[in-house]
Amino acid sequence: MSTVAELSIAAPEARKAGNWLLVATVILLCVWVLLPIYLLIVNALSSPEEVTAFPKRFFPSFDFGSLSFFINFAGVAKALWNSVLVATLTMLLSIGFGAPAGYALSRFEFPGKETFRFLVLMTRAFPLPLLALPLAVMFIRTGLDDTAIGLALVHTTLALPFAVLITFSLFSGIPVELEEAAWTLGCTRLQAFRKVILPLALPGIAASAVFAFTISWNEVFAAAVLTIENRTLTAFLLQSLGESPLYLKFAGGAALVIPALIFIFAVRKYLFAMWGIANR
C-alpha cells in the first residue's frame, strides 16, 4: 500500500525533473548554435572601432563600415562571383544526376537497389582530405585544376547523396497511380513525368537544388586545395583573413553564413523529409 502511495507521489516529481532536464538541454543547444551566429551578426553590423572595443554593446549599432570595407576589399568581388558560379554549377550537376537517380530508386525495382542506396550514403563516409592530394594531381594532369567546373565536380560529389535522397523521398511521396493514370490518358512515360510528376515535385526539387548550392557555398577544404587564382569566397577568406583585421573577419563570416542560413531555413521542410520525419 505504501509503495503505491510513494509511486504516485514520485511520478509527478520525476516528470517535473525530466521536464527541467529537457528545457535545460534545449536552452543549452540553442545557445550553442545561436550564440556564435549572434556574435557574428552583432560584430558585422558594428563599426570597425566598436568590434575591438570593450565592453560590447548588446544591440549592434547598425554601422555598415565593416561590411562596406569587406565588400570593397581587393579580390572579394571576384571570389564572390566564383562562389556563385561554382555553387550554381554544383546545383545543376547534382540535380541533373541526383533527380533521375532519386526517381529510379522510388519507382523501379532492380537488383542491388538497397546496396546502391547504402553506397550513396557511404560516399559521405569517405574523408575528403584523403582524396585531396590524388585529386589535385589528377586535376592538374587533366587541366581541371583551378577551374570552376573542376571544383563544381568535387562539390557535386559531396552534394549528390543528398540530392538523391531528397528527391527519392520526394518522388516516393507522389502516388504512382497519378503517373499510371496519366499513362492510361495518353501520356508516354516522359510526358507523364513532365505533366504530372514534375509540377508536383518542383518545389521539392528546388529545395534540393538550394541545398546543393549551400553545400558548395559552405565548402572550404576542396576549394582551398584545388584553386589558386579562381578562389571561392570560403577559400579566399581562409587564405586572406589570417592576417586581416578582426572586423573584416566578422564581416566575411557573416557574408558566408547568412545566405546559407536563409537557404537552409527556406528548404527545411524537405530536409526533414529526407530523413523520413513527417513535417507538421
Binding site: E180, T184, L200
Partner: protein, 346 residues
C-alpha cells in the same frame, strides 16, 4: 466495338505465381466483374489488361487487336483507380480534359466533352476546384468523368467504391450502373464486395488463388456454384456444407436424411444448400438450435448439425428458441453436391 480476349495469361512475381494461365472472353459492351478476396490476383489481371503490368505469358486482345506489348495509351482503355488518382495540381476541368488535350482535340470539342461528362456525373459546379477541395465521393465522380470523357472502348475499374462510406457507395453503385450502360463501353470492374458484384455485373468471374473458378451470370454463380469456394464465398450467410455417405448408387445419407444425388464411385461427397433453401418441418436434417437472430424480414438460425455449423433462414414468424431440436428439409431442386477432393460441383 471492343471484345476483350484474355488467352492463357499468367503472372509470376519471382517464385510467387499471382495468376495461373487465365482464359477469359468479355463480350462487347459487357459488364464483367472480377470478384475475389484480396490477393486472389484480380487486380493483377486488370492491370495486365490496362498495360500497367506485363504478363509473364499469354496474350491480351482488345477489339481484335493484340495489345499485350502495347503501352497503356495505345490500348483504347480508360481506368478508374481505387484512390481516384485525381491530379492535385489541376482543376477538375483540366483533370477531365487531360486525356482530351493529349489527343490534341480542338478546344471546342474539349469544352463540349468536359461539360457533358461533368453534367452526367453531377459535378458541373465543381469544375473550377482542385482535388484538395473535394470530398472522397466528388473525387470519385471526377475520376469516372475523366475516364468517360475519353470515350474509350474499354473502362477498367479497380475497386472504385471501396474508399467511400456505405451510404455513398450504395448511391454511386446505382449511378455507375446507369452511366456505364448508357456509355456502351466494355467494362471490367474489380471488387471484393459480393453485393457490388451481384448488383452491377452482367457476368461475374470469381477468382481464387490466381485462377478463375467460375465465370457466369450473378444468378448462376449464386444458384449453381461451380466449386465449393464459390458457394462459401458468395452469399451472406454462405452456403452450408454437410458430408454425405453413400447408401446406394445415386443415393446419399446426409445427417440422417436419405436423399437422391449424383452417381459417384466415391464413398463420401459433400452436400450443400443455401440457408434460405430449407424449411423447418416434421422431417429432414436433425439440427439443434444454438443462436437465434431475428432480422426483421426473416430469422437467421444457427444450428448444430453433426458437430458442424448449419445456418438456416426461416420465416420471422417461426417460434424457435435456443436448444430446440429442428428438422430441416432442403428444397430438392436447390441441393448441390461437391466432390470433396477436387472441390468441384458434381
Amino acid at each position: 466495338m471492343a471484345e476483350i480476349v484474355i488467352k492463357q495469361v499468367a503472372k509470376r512475381f519471382g517464385g510467387f505465381t499471382a495468376l495461373h494461365s487465365i482464359d477469359l472472353t468479355i463480350a462487347d459492351q459487357e459488364f464483367m466483374v472480377l470478384l475475389g478476396a484480396s490477393g486472389c490476383g484480380k487486380t493483377t489481371l486488370l492491370r495486365i489488361v490496362a498495360g500497367l503490368e506485363t504478363p509473364s505469358q499469354g496474350e491480351v486482345w482488345i477489339g481484335g487487336r493484340r495489345v499485350d506489348h502495347l503501352p497503356p495509351r495505345e490500348r483504347g482503355i480508360a481506368m478508374v483507380f481505387q484512390n481516384y488518382a485525381v491530379f492535385p495540381h489541376l482543376t477538375v476541368f483540366e483533370n477531365i480534359a487531360f486525356g482530351l488535350r493529349m489527343k490534341k482535340l480542338p478546344q471546342q470539342e474539349v469544352d463540349g466533352r468536359v461539360n457533358r461528362t461533368a453534367e452526367l456525373m453531377h459535378i458541373e459546379q465543381l469544375l473550377k476546384r482542385y482535388s484538395g477541395q473535394l470530398s472522397g465521393g466528388q473525387r470519385q465522380r471526377v475520376a469516372v468523368a475523366r475516364a468517360l470523357a475519353m470515350e474509350p472502348d474499354v473502362i477498367l475499374m479497380d475497386e472504385p467504391l471501396s474508399n467511400l462510406d456505405a451510404l455513398l457507395r450504395l448511391e454511386m453503385r446505382a449511378e455507375l450502373k446507369g452511366v456505364l450502360a448508357a456509355s456502351k463501353t466494355t467494362t471490367i470492374y474489380v471488387t471484393h464486395d459480393q453485393v457490388e458484384a451481384m448488383s452491377l455485373a452482367d457476368r461475374i468471374a470469381v477468382m481464387h488463388q490466381g485462377r478463375i473458378v467460375q465465370a457466369a451470370s450473378p444468378v448462376e454463380v449464386y444458384r449453381n456454384p461451380a466449386a465449393r469456394f464459390v458457394g462459401s464465398f458468395i452469399g451472406n450467410p454462405p452456403m452450408n456444407f454437410i458430408p454425405a455417405t453413400k447408401t446406394a448408387d445415386g443415393s446419399w445419407t446426409v445427417a440422417g436424411l436419405t436423399l437422391p444425388g449424383p452417381k459417384s464411385d466415391k464413398q463420401t461427397i459433400e452436400f450443400a444448400i443455401r440457408p434460405e433453401d430449407v424449411d423447418a418441418g416434421n422431417e429432414g436434417i436433425n439440427a439443434t438450435v444454438r443462436v437465434v437472430e431475428p432480422l426483421g424480414p426473416h430469422t437467421l438460425v444457427t444450428c448444430d448439425v453433426e458437430g458442424g455449423l448449419f445456418r438456416a433462414i426461416l420465416e420471422s414468424n417461426a417460434t424457435v428458441a435456443v436448444g430446440d431440436h429442428l428438422r430441416l428439409s432442403p428444397k430438392p431442386d436447390r441441393v448441390r453436391w461437391f466432390d470433396p477432393e477436387t472441390t468441384n460441383a458434381l
